[in-house]
Symmetry: C2
Subunit: 229 residues, 2 copies
C-alpha cells in the first residue's frame, strides 16, 4: 500500500515548508509510518479536487483520503492504536494548543518571514501569495517584513507559555515528544524552511527544545531543505 | 479524615475568588472529594508557614501538605486513580494551557477588574494589594480599570483559541469537562466573584461554556458569592 502526502512546496520541489504539513509529517514518523511526499503549489487547487477541498496536507492512505492536519492526527491515532500514541489519552486539550498556534503564533511569526516565504515560492504562486497576504496585513510584504527587528521581542513574548512549560518538563508531551510538540515544531520548521532570520535567543529554553525536536526521527526536520536555525 | 483547603478570601470570608483556588475546588469536586475551606488573606503569610511557602491554594489532606494548584491536581490524579480522571491520560499538554492562563489570560483579565478586586479585600490586604499591583502595572488601580471599556475587545481577542476549540467540542476536555476546563473556568470565576463587569458577549461560545461550567457539581461555582455573569 502506498501512502501519499500532498505537501506545500516552493519553487524548489524539495522545499516543503507548510507548518500544517509538518504536523502530519512528524505525526507519521511518530507512528513509524512511511509516506511518499507529493509537492503541491498554492495555485494547484485542481490537483486536490479529489479531496473535496483545496488545502494541504492531504493524506491518501489506501482508499482513504483525508485533509486537515488535526483530523489526520485523530485518524492516525485511531487507525494505529498499537504504535506510539500521539496524544497519550485525551486529545481534547491539545486542540487548544492547535488553535493557539493557528490564531496567535502564526500571525506573529508570519510578520517576521512573510517576504522570505514569498521569495521561495514558484513564480505562479507568488502573485497569489502577494495579493492574499497584502490584503490580510493591509500593507506590502516588504513593509511587513521590514519591521521584523522591531516585531521580534513581541514574537518572543508570544512564546512565553511554551517557555514556561519547557522549564518544567522536556516536551509539551511531558517526558517524551507528542503531537502537542509537533504542532509547534511545525510552526518553527515553517520559518526554518523559508527564512534565515534568527527567531530565538540561544539561552531560550525554546531554542534547546527546538533543536531536540528537529533532531527527532533521524533528523527528519533538520535534514529537510532550509536554513540553520 | 478532614481535608482542608486554604483559600484566598475577601473582607467577607465567604467571598473566595482566587483563580488558582478555584482550579483546586473544581478538581476536588471532579474527583468527588469534600474539603473544608479555610479563608486566608494575602497578608496572613504566617498562617501558611507550615506549608513551606506563602501562596494559596494549600491543601491539607491527612498528613500531606500540598501547595501550587498544578501540583495539587497531579497529586489528586495519582492518589485517586479510580475516580473520574482530571486529565484522561497525559497531562503534559494541559501544562501549556495552565501557563497560558497564568501568563496571558490573567494579565489581560486583571486590567478589567483590578479596582473591583481591591474593593472587596479585607482592609489589611488593601494596602498590600494596591502597592504590589500598582508597581506591576505602573499606574494606579483606578487608572488601570478606568480603561476597561477600551481594553475589553483586546481581552475578548485573547480568548480566541478557547473560542475556536469550543466551536469544535463542548469542553476543553473533549466530550466532558476536565482539568483543562477548570483552569479557565477558575479564571472567569475570579472575575465573577469580584466584579460586576460583563466580560463576554452572549453569543460568544465562551459564554455558553462558562454557564455550563459554573453549573457543574450542583452549581458549585455559580452558587458561590459573586455577581451574575
Amino acid at each position: 500500500m502506498t501512502r501519499l502526502l500532498y505537501e506545500l512546496a516552493g519553487a524548489d520541489p524539495a522545499q516543503r515548508f507548510s507548518p500544517y504539513c509538518w504536523r502530519t509529517r512528524l505525526a507519521l514518523a511518530h507512528k513509524g509510518l512511511e509516506a511518499e511526499g507529493a509537492p503541491w503549489r498554492f495555485t494547484e487547487k485542481d490537483k486536490l479536487a479529489f479531496s473535496g477541498q483545496g488545502l494541504v496536507p492531504v493524506l491518501v492512505d489506501g482508499d482513504t483520503v483525508l485533509s486537515d492536519s488535526w483530523r489526520i492526527a485523530q485518524w492516525l491515532e485511531a487507525r494505529h492504536p498499537d504504535s506510539p500514541s500521539l496524544f497519550g489519552g485525551n486529545s481534547g486539550p491539545v486542540q487548544f494548543l492547535n488553535a493557539w498556534a493557528d490564531s496567535v503564533l502564526h500571525p506573529a511569526l508570519a510578520r517576521l518571514i512573510l517576504l522570505d516565504i514569498h521569495d521561495c515560492l514558484a513564480p505562479k504562486d507568488q502573485a497569489y501569495f502577494r495579493q492574499s497576504r497584502e490584503e490580510r496585513f493591509g500593507i506590502s510584504l516588504e513593509a511587513v517584513q521590514a519591521g521584523r527587528e522591531r516585531d521580534l521581542p513581541a514574537f518572543r513574548r508570544v512564546l512565553q507559555p511554551l517557555r514556561m512549560v519547557l522549564r518544567e518538563q522536556p516536551w509539551l508531551g511531558g517526558e517524551g515528544p507528542a503531537y502537542a510538540d509537533y504542532i509547534l515544531l511545525g510552526s518553527l520548521q515553517w520559518a526554518r524552511c523559508t527564512s534565515p532570520f534568527r527567531l530565538l535567543a540561544e539561552d531560550d529554553p525554546v531554542f534547546a527544545w527546538r533543536a531536540r525536536g528537529f533532531a527527532l526521527f533521524g533528523g527528519l526536520a533538520i535534514n529537510a531543505k532550509g536554513y540553520t536555525p
